[in-house]
Symmetry: C2
Subunit: 444 residues, 2 copies
């Protein structure tokens, strides 16, 4: 006997178009609630797709079955076989009149946290008992939407002839010569967890792969412990040959709009559970130059910004609010950053090399993506590495790919979690990761 | 000006249905070959999708252009703008009569390896100069097929209501208590690279996610340095609630058949480049019990197998050949393994606990996937951990998820690289990874 045949329907699939009134079905899930009113007992069964009310009238059914139902322990795993009764007044338009209830695993009690939504739990409590937090409709909804975002993004890439790639996470060299690295003992050698697929996706451009995407984990040993930092995150990375920064900005804004479109279309019930109403971002996104951003901040904020400064949190908010007020949109680009505050591989403008062909894509309150046209000229690249105080010898495996026919190319990386977070207005980035890793948290 | 507008077509898109005879187009790519015959010069331009012949007749065109073409350095990056001339006798049915050749990056010489296919290179040489190896049509073909395999697999999962998940790669505990772990310094603590999403995908079953898949990196510090082992690989993982091992075997065989179907349908030219002809594996796959496997081996091989032994390489070949000879198929399952030689989480049969509800999916010469119905009863799980000599305390974060309503569930993991390797008959698993990581190789 196949266990899968135990379940005939998800709770949400019991609709008049799919099921006959009186039809015998089997649901499988968790005991969400038991309401014992003496002569009648309601058992609410919950599965991934929703809830169903199982109704037991004492006078009408077997005594043992009735007693078994009354004694069900919350969050135990059960299957219920019974007949569907469509009933407009019932919670989801139907109730199930049971013939058999099968207890597959009894839950311990008390539960480590509440699942009914009646008691608010702190994020840390929820993450400590993530297995039970995930049973809450709100938490499930976030991950259903994350799922849809990823499918939409991949669909967009595949349609536009991108090749999916997987580059190594265990590497010998820091991507950007930075310090935020987790060291690994790799057999008898030292290695690191990769901070970004940057160098590898550029090598693939030399390999003629033309347009690639990768969606995978990145690791940053940053000490930040904020609402919007993770030490292990999912990065959506893109690199395109024979393209400049404007070309890949266009890909990015269209991709964002497409992901919103698909979520709106395919995640109606999850958005409803979260109380989120989405609008498709209007393309093209507004482009502000770095210099314009300085002007906006200095006109509107006490905290002044000088040429060469990076954008602070307050500055991000100031500009984000300005954009939202003037355009009604949350997404925008900041372009033409000073070469010195961008990574060594960003291409300087030929006619004003203190500015680079780089951009950030912003959401109202935070950066979502960084990108640039990259340097494809080996001599210029080497001198940029040196002028940022690093040793080109450490980048030999990378520089070699530029010596024998590297095309001009551009690309970007976007944090998947920040994208989902800004889409849903989630307060903490940890809410968008199943098992977040941060400065303090390594488990579960 | 947008750089992307430099290219109007891939070489393979120049076909009579898409392009007019005489139409002006721009191709972008690498100088694959220059054949200078004195009065006529042929430049072969190569891009990801193929090659095009650029024909320059000395008498008919500008002298500077002709001389520039003759002097082109192999593997340099160029764009060529010219007029299409459909010509049945030309290599791909057309030649390009150039108006302008633009050199974007000049390649150094000599090249670190040959790209024309005229000189065979050792795998190590190819991997050392992977950026240039990837320009070979055969190498590109493998990664185009890998791309298609992944899209097909995800499509299958999404259609069957699986949720895509991403579980952490940095973990505090070894998945299976094994020793093949890479240690990480995680701030001031010791952590490890995860060997498998096993424990986390099981926790998700307790979280009510019902059916999940994950495609991501796994890390195994095995000392093996063979044709079919990697220390960093891509794992395709599945877990399904209210399912047993037979249910997830059915998912697996259908998935394999679907991936083959999609590759046959969508990767014709890549298969042709590789000289591979694929047949869709027939489902359901043959199921041999572990006991039957012992009988087959002992009847056909000098190397005897005893009850409780794992299957050796020779044994795999013996059984694989037997299956192929008797059924004409390469894929099959071995089911009902001894409980003792499978991981602690495999469910023993109730009526004969020395056998477990576990399986391997085999290809003629190697194991592709392992799976099982899992233990969902906490007391049994704890005693299995202990009887394998491990301490349940180390698994607290995992065992907790079983105490409050864990449904019965089953799942499997399959190595993406081995799947591609067996599909294409690749000799070495490293040929299916862009930048392989093994005992000796950390770069590029």
């Amino acid at each position: 006997m196949s266990l899968a045949n135990l379940r005939t329907h998800y709770t949400a699939d019991v609709e008049p178009e799919k099921v006959d009134n009186g039809q015998k079905i089997t649901l499988a899930g968790w005991v969400h609630e038991v309401r014992d009113l003496g002569g009648i007992c309601f058992v609410v069964l919950r599965d991934r797709e929703g809830k169903a009310q199982v109704t037991l009238v004492k006078k009408k059914i077997d005594k043992d079955l009735f007693n078994a139902a009354r004694r069900l322990v919350r969050e135990s795993v059960i299957t219920v076989t019974g007949n569907v009764k469509f009933e407009e007044k019932a919670p989801n338009g139907y109730e199930l009149l049971p013939e058999e209830i099968n207890i597959l695993n009894v839950a311990g009690s008390p539960l480590p946290m509440d699942t009914t939504g009646k008691v608010d739990a702190e994020l840390d409590t929820r993450l400590d008992s993530r297995f039970i937090d995930l049973r809450r409709a709100e938490t499930t909804a976030v991950f259903k939407i994350r799922h849809e975002v990823l499918q939409a993004i991949r669909e967009y890439f595949v349609k536009h002839k991108f090749l999916e790639t997987a580059t190594p996470k265990v590497v010998a060299t820091a991507t950007e010569g930075g310090t935020a690295l987790f060291p690994i003992t790799y057999f008898d050698r030292e290695a690191f967890l990769n901070q970004s697929p940057q160098l590898f996706k550029q090598i693939l451009m030399s390999g003629g792969f033309d347009r690639v995407f990768e969606i995978g984990p990145i690791f940053r040993a940053e000490e930040h412990d904020t609402r919007r930092h993770l030490n292990e995150a999912t990065s959506i990375d893109v690199e395109v040959s024979f393209a400049d920064h404007f070309d890949v900005m266009e890909i990015l804004e269209n991709l964002v709009a497409y992901a919103y479109t698909q979520v709106i279309e395919n995640c109606k019930s999850s958005l409803e559970v979260l109380g989120v109403e989405l609008n498709i971002p209007k393309t093209p996104f507004l482009k502000l130059t770095y210099n314009e951003v300085i002007e906006i901040i200095n006109a509107r904020s006490e905290e002044k910004m000088h040429w060469g400064d990076d954008l602070g949190t307050l500055g991000e908010h100031t500009v984000g609010d300005y954009v939202y007020e003037t355009t009604g949109e949350s997404h925008y680009f900041i372009i033409d950053w000073p070469t010195e505050i961008k990574p060594f591989y960003a291409m300087p403008y030929e006619d004003r090399p203190e500015f680079s062909k780089s951009f950030d894509m912003m959401h109202r309150t935070m950066e979502l993506s960084s990108g640039a046209q990259r340097i494809h000229i080996p001599s210029l690249l080497k001198s940029r590495i040196e002028s940022q105080g690093m040793d080109p010898d450490g980048f030999e495996f990378y520089l070699k790919a530029f010596e024998y026919g590297m095309p001009p190319h551009a690309g970007w990386g976007m944090g998947c979690e920040r994208f989902v977070m800004t889409m849903l207005g989630t307060d903490n980035i940890r809410d968008t990761v199943l098992f977040p890793r941060d400065r303090r948290r390594l488990s579960p």
